[in-house]
């Protein structure tokens, strides 16, 4: 029974081997000449003007989290759209309820000002 998984095992070994091998070989064989310009963080070929280690405003995270939330909910709409006719009225009503709850979430976020940048 396990024989059918042999291909997967070979793929796993080959993929890991290639990745690890390439990294090891470059670090062993590649020339190592370091000079100040090379050690700088890359920023479009220009010299960086500020330190890249800056703190980001928490607003970015909030926006990202809200985006993910609604994005994932929206994914559920695709299978529903495809099966819309097969699901009939039952599917329609259920999805309507789902969207209403989602809408309440959106209204909540909106009124609480989480979508305002300032």
């Amino acid at each position: 029974m396990l024989n059918q998984y042999l291909g997967v095992l070979i793929l796993l070994v080959l993929a890991t081997g290639t990745a690890v091998g390439m990294l090891t070989l470059t670090s062993l064989l590649g020339p190592k000449k370091s000079f100040p310009d090379k050690m700088e963080p890359f920023e479009c070929g220009k010299k960086p003007i500020v330190s890249p280690r800056q703190r980001f405003s928490v607003k970015f995270y909030l926006t990202a989290v809200l985006f993910i939330l609604f994005d994932i909910e929206a994914v559920f709409l695709y299978p529903w759209a495809i099966l819309f006719k097969k699901l009939g009225w039952f599917g329609f009503v259920e999805m309507l309820l789902f969207i209403v709850v989602l809408g309440i979430g959106l209204v909540y976020v909106w009124k609480k000002g989480a979508l305002k940048w300032e």
Partner: protein, 490 residues
């Protein structure tokens, strides 16, 4: 075109959950428009929202009481609305209603009067109900997550306070980890039996159609860890004292009753209904955990000087007593748990209410010494605290005594005399730290000034209900025991 067959939908089986969810959403929406009154057709005051929440919980409680009767299976057998669930749902509603009543004044006093608090309480209660109604591992998980995520937020509700934030973060990180264990266990059990439905799991075990017995045992072990965390049993209890201490006191009261009971409801359902066929394999594990939980909880509680931490360890030890009933795995055990959790809801929320009443903003008076001489200044409040302490210690004729009595007799009937003896010895240890508070209240002289009490009507009502519940259940236990007996899983 072939229509997709939908499973049978029976919304009346979960109407209490729907009530809670709709009320929660309603509170969220009403709160949004409070500052924008012109958008609403009617005027509403922010102060009214807690009462909306209370109304929702009471409605849900009434509809839970209607659930007593023949069991209803709904949603493709993932929901089992039987007496067992109905009894637990009533306990949850009592716990949440009392919590809302003591919160109204407390949250205002702490400047935390946000409506999300009440909405989250309702969502957490909906999650707990789902756990009690679960007839499938998926439903257990769904309810557990709904409850836990709400609780993580509630624990950190006092976000200006470092302790509260810390408690939320600790609870969240450890809780997420425990959920991982639980889910892994469920996956393995599904792999072993080919079903997530508890009855089908039981049938697979009984009919010996397992794919792999090893996977089943592994899954069982992992589920013990996951659920053991939620009910705060040793050695998965480390989060309890810190979380209980840091969370707002009303939430501590809530957490120590509802979610714990919900954890036990799921524990009993999964282990007695689903895994009842392999009792021999998990019973010794639970035996050890129960003995450890009682002993560690009680011994550590002895050394506490902070009342919230002491009650946290006491709640750990009570989880141990309830696990004894799970070990017994018989009808008396299942009955005793229902009775015990109801009694525990009254006495524990009552004790926390006294803690809340004696605190002021920024000065919570959480040291045990702060209770010295309480009876000489406020005799009635001192008396109520003494009632709760005596009941928690298990002294007749109060509710706590009968709860322990039934649990230990269940253990003895099932032949676990050793465990019952450990439990009894632990009760003796517990008497010491509960009575210490009573002694402080009645015998010691006050070490501080007691300001005149200002108890709001709802807090007072909650206190009165808790006292009456504790005494009533102790003096007339038979009628509630009869209901509990008809609600047992056996």
């Amino acid at each position: 075109m072939e229509m997709i067959q939908t499973p049978e939908i029976n919304l009346s089986a979960i109407c209490h959950i729907l009530t809670l969810c709709v009320t929660g959403l309603l509170i969220l929406v009403l709160d949004l428009f409070i500052n924008d009154q012109k958008l609403l057709p009617f005027k509403i005051d922010k102060k009214l929202l807690p009462y909306v929440a209370l109304g929702g919980v009471i409605l849900a409680g009434i509809s839970s009481m209607n659930d007593f009767g023949p069991a209803v299976y709904a949603f493709n057998n993932t929901i089992a609305a039987d007496n067992f669930a109905a009894f637990f749902n009533v306990i949850f509603c009592i716990g949440t209603a009392l919590t809302i009543m003591i919160s109204i004044n407390y949250m205002e006093q702490e400047d935390l009067n946000h409506s999300e608090y009440y909405a989250l309480l309702l969502f957490a209660t909906a999650g707990m109900m789902l756990m009690a109604l679960a007839a499938s591992l998926i439903t257990v998980f769904l309810g557990l997550e709904l409850m836990s995520i709400s609780l993580y937020i509630l624990a950190g509700f006092n976000r200006a306070k470092v302790e509260s934030t810390e408690s939320a973060l600790k609870y969240f990180l450890l809780g997420a980890f425990a959920t991982g264990f639980l889910l892994y266990g469920m996956a393995l059990i599904y792999g072993a039996t080919g079903s997530t439905n508890l009855k089908e799991i039981a049938a697979a075990i009984k009919g010996d159609t397992l794919n792999s017995a090893t996977l089943l045992y592994l899954g069982t072990g992992l589920m013990v860890i996951g659920l053991g965390f939620k009910v705060a049993s040793v050695p998965f209890h480390m989060w309890t004292p810190d979380v209980y201490e840091g969370a707002p006191t009303a939430i501590t009261a809530f957490m120590s009753v509802g979610p714990k009971a919900a954890g036990f409801a799921a524990f009993f359902r999964v282990f007695l209904v689903g895994l009842g066929g392999i009792t021999d394999h998990w019973v010794s594990l639970i035996w050890v955990i129960a003995a450890l939980t009682m002993t560690v909880g009680n011994l550590t509680a002895l050394a506490q000087t902070n009342i919230k931490r002491m009650l946290a360890y006491s709640s750990i030890s009570h989880a141990g007593y309830v696990l004894v009933a799970l070990v017994a795995a018989n009808e008396i055990g299942s009955t005793a748990v229902l009775y015990y959790m109801l009694a525990y809801a009254f006495m524990n929320i009552g004790a926390f209410t006294v803690v809340i009443v004696l605190g002021k903003k920024g000065e919570e008076n959480l040291n045990l010494e702060d209770y010295s001489g309480l009876a000489s200044r406020h005799p009635l409040l001192g008396f109520t605290m003494a009632v709760f302490m005596f009941s928690l210690a298990g002294i007749p004729p109060l509710a706590g005594f009968f709860g322990k009595f039934y649990i230990f007799s269940a253990a003895i009937k099932a032949g676990y005399v050793g465990l019952a003896v450990i439990g009894l010895l632990n009760s003796v240890v517990a008497v010491f730290y509960y009575l210490r508070i009573t002694v402080l209240i009645y015998i010691k002289d006050p070490v501080r000034e007691f300001p005149p009490l200002s108890i709001s009507p709802f807090t007072l009502a909650a206190l009165v209900i808790a006292v009456i519940g504790t005494i009533q259940l102790g003096i007339f236990p038979s009628w509630i025991l009869e209901i509990a007996q008809s609600s047992s899983l056996f």
